[in-house]
Symmetry: C2
Subunit: 404 residues, 2 copies
């Protein structure tokens, strides 16, 4: 998981996103400005010594928004920020399986329009690549497409909220029943019923455009079309699909939204989109878009695919007999100076016993030091070779390069 | 702070330490196995839905010990583990200034003796180097040195605890009064009174050795002497001092202890030592030693010294006019592919306006794209030059290398 976190953060840095650290524990009244009742309920809360209610961080977009409107209020927009850390909830099961989960996320605050939307989607895709995922799917949708359909559907207000709820839980049977209960028939009803099918390549944008009759949905389709063009320029024309039926947090998202899925994972690995209304609640109105990566889920997928992180591989285990201890320590220091990962044993061992030790450590090379001038190099393959201490770094560097 | 965290973790990886992730929130009854009453009091606690008491992580050695005795119980010892993350306390002011602080730490579990002690001290020094600190002091002491003095001092039990408390808060006036109140006089009393002076280079080990009469203190001095020899082999003979008066958490530390200080910081940046009794409390008796780095304090020192992290430097700001947008996105993708950090603007700008934009971003190079084939390169110094898109990567790579 840590390897994934670092790979994703490194990719975000290449896009010029700067890491910010937000608190684990904050006053609830401050966070609450950005939360609805349901989100507030899911936070783990506790009471401070002075009686004020504190909450454990449940997601990090709101703390970042607070930061942008607070400590960073004099920093010019747009701001590109990223974050990482644990998030906690007293209601596991929605996006996370456990009470505690780990996320990395990025926010582009102060930029509106498809160029900014395409930037965060392209970066999300590159982050999944950087994490080592080979098979994934990124679906792009638009919050306004559905809003437009619903507003022009001429449905009574009571029915609209039922339709919203049914679509939110992707319950298409309930949806059909609701729409049949009204005598009205128009193109928007047809589209509402065909939601599940509005998923696929860029061709569905055209198909939907032929059916839609309201300005709001049309504008949403135009924006998605432009995002698609820009993603092509980013080199990612085929990496994303479109899902006009993606319905999520109506009150929060205001434009282009997206989700990333891995093989055999029901929950999204990546979740993002435009939220142009949040920053105003903290006193600095600004358009914004961003996404988060669920590290635990990405880790699970990688683990299932048999991926083992390069980070934990050891270049050398340095074993020693008493006469070689100090030379072994010097050798370890030297290897690290050359950027290699080396463990020097904490007790003396003969060469044969040291082989088992190095194997248990998963060290690529065993070096056994039995005196001031004596180093035996036992690589993973091939017979052991006696080297002078000065030769060791060069030999190992060549081996490491050859296997990279 | 993040740059420091990454630099320190990278150094720990070079020493073969593997990163583990421990929970932010754990059941108090489980953690309490490793805590004394005072430590338990300082934890931030809350009640879970089922009525059990949870605690926010206050330090991470105990969660790591739990891990070694629990999930990792079948992993052979010694284990080299490191961790990072926030820690929280409801009693700021001891080692941290705020309720929430950030630490990186390492634990070497399952190895006793000076080789292991010297390993963690040497790694701690290299971590401070890696963080970018230029001036710091690492003091090494031994919990058993003082224990031996006290046990052989023939002081009545009531007086002993007073002496412990006075030394713990470094209150030498109270200490002198306590010792004067008894009619006993021996070498150990003299040493107890001379504690503040027992600080300096390796020569103080010899000075103390000439005065000390008890086996326990003598053995402590021998161990420190051996640690000093081994630190020399690590290439760090002059990097550490000795402080025989370092008195800390008597019930916790059992052997060699150490602290690292920066210029003008009263609190230690690094705190570590041997704790051979903790693991047994979790059911897997094993010797252990380790240390933690207080990232916030290290960050403060670096900030005061005017250090700015290389991580946040941007290689290129890519600006564009409408005809150049897609070429600009392709250029951004290309630069990132070569490991450079590049921001592509989210709105169109002319060259002059783009200069201000790139400056605000602290980008080392401005690239302005005004068409499919037109890139103007405006480096920080010198006049702008028109380049073909293919030439850009090579030019910037050379610039980046030259300035490294």
């Amino acid at each position: 998981m840590r390897a994934t976190q670092e790979a994703v953060l490194a990719e975000m840095r290449r896009w010029g996103y700067r890491l910010v650290v937000t608190p684990t524990l904050e006053r609830l009244d401050v966070l609450a400005l950005g939360l609805d009742g349901e989100q507030r309920r899911r936070l783990i809360k506790l009471t401070d010594g002075d009686g004020s209610v504190l909450a454990l961080v449940g997601e990090r977009t709101i703390p970042v928004a607070r930061l942008v409107a607070g400590k960073l209020r004099s920093a010019p927009l747009p701001l590109r920020l990223c974050y990482t850390g644990p998030v906690l909830t007293n209601d596991p099961g929605r996006f996370v399986r456990r009470r505690e989960a780990h996320q990395v996320g990025a926010e582009l605050v102060g930029a509106s329009g498809p160029v900014a939307d395409a930037e965060v989607i392209a970066m999300a895709v590159r982050c999944l690549d950087a994490a080592g995922l080979r098979r994934y799917q990124v679906d792009v949708g638009h919050a306004e497409f559905f809003r437009g359909l619903l507003d022009s559907s001429e449905l009574p207000a009571a029915l609209k909220s039922g339709v919203e709820a049914a679509l939110g839980r992707r319950d298409f049977v309930a949806l059909a029943e609701l729409l049949e209960s009204t005598s009205l028939r128009n193109a928007e009803h047809e589209l509402l019923l065909r939601f599940p099918a509005l998923r696929g390549g860029a061709e569905i944008l055209e198909a939907a455009g032929a059916l839609v009759r309201n300005r709001r949905s049309e504008r949403a389709l135009q924006e998605l079309d432009r995002v698609h063009e820009l993603l092509r320029a980013h080199g990612l024309g085929d990496a994303v699909s479109f899902d006009l039926g993606a319905i999520r947090d109506f009150d929060y998202y205001t434009g282009v939204i997206f989700e990333g899925y891995g093989p055999d994972v029901g929950r999204p690995l990546v979740l993002g989109g435009r939220y142009d209304r949040l920053l105003a609640r903290f006193g600095r109105p600004a358009p914004a878009t961003g996404f988060m990566v669920h590290l635990d889920l990405v880790g699970e997928v990688l683990w299932r695919e048999g991926w083992s992180p390069a980070l934990t591989r050891l270049d050398a285990g340095v074993a020693w007999t008493p006469a070689g201890l100090e030379a072994a320590l010097r050798l370890g220091a030297r290897l690290r100076l050359f950027g290699m990962r080396a463990v020097v044993d904490t007790r003396s061992r003969g060469l044969e016993e040291a082989r088992g030790w190095a194997q248990a450590l998963k060290a690529r090379n065993l070096l056994h030091v039995d005196g001031e001038a004596g180093v035996v190099w036992a690589p993973a393959e091939g017979p052991p070779i006696r080297l002078a201490p000065d030769e060791v770094v060069e030999r190992l560097t060549h081996t490491a390069e050859a296997s990279r």
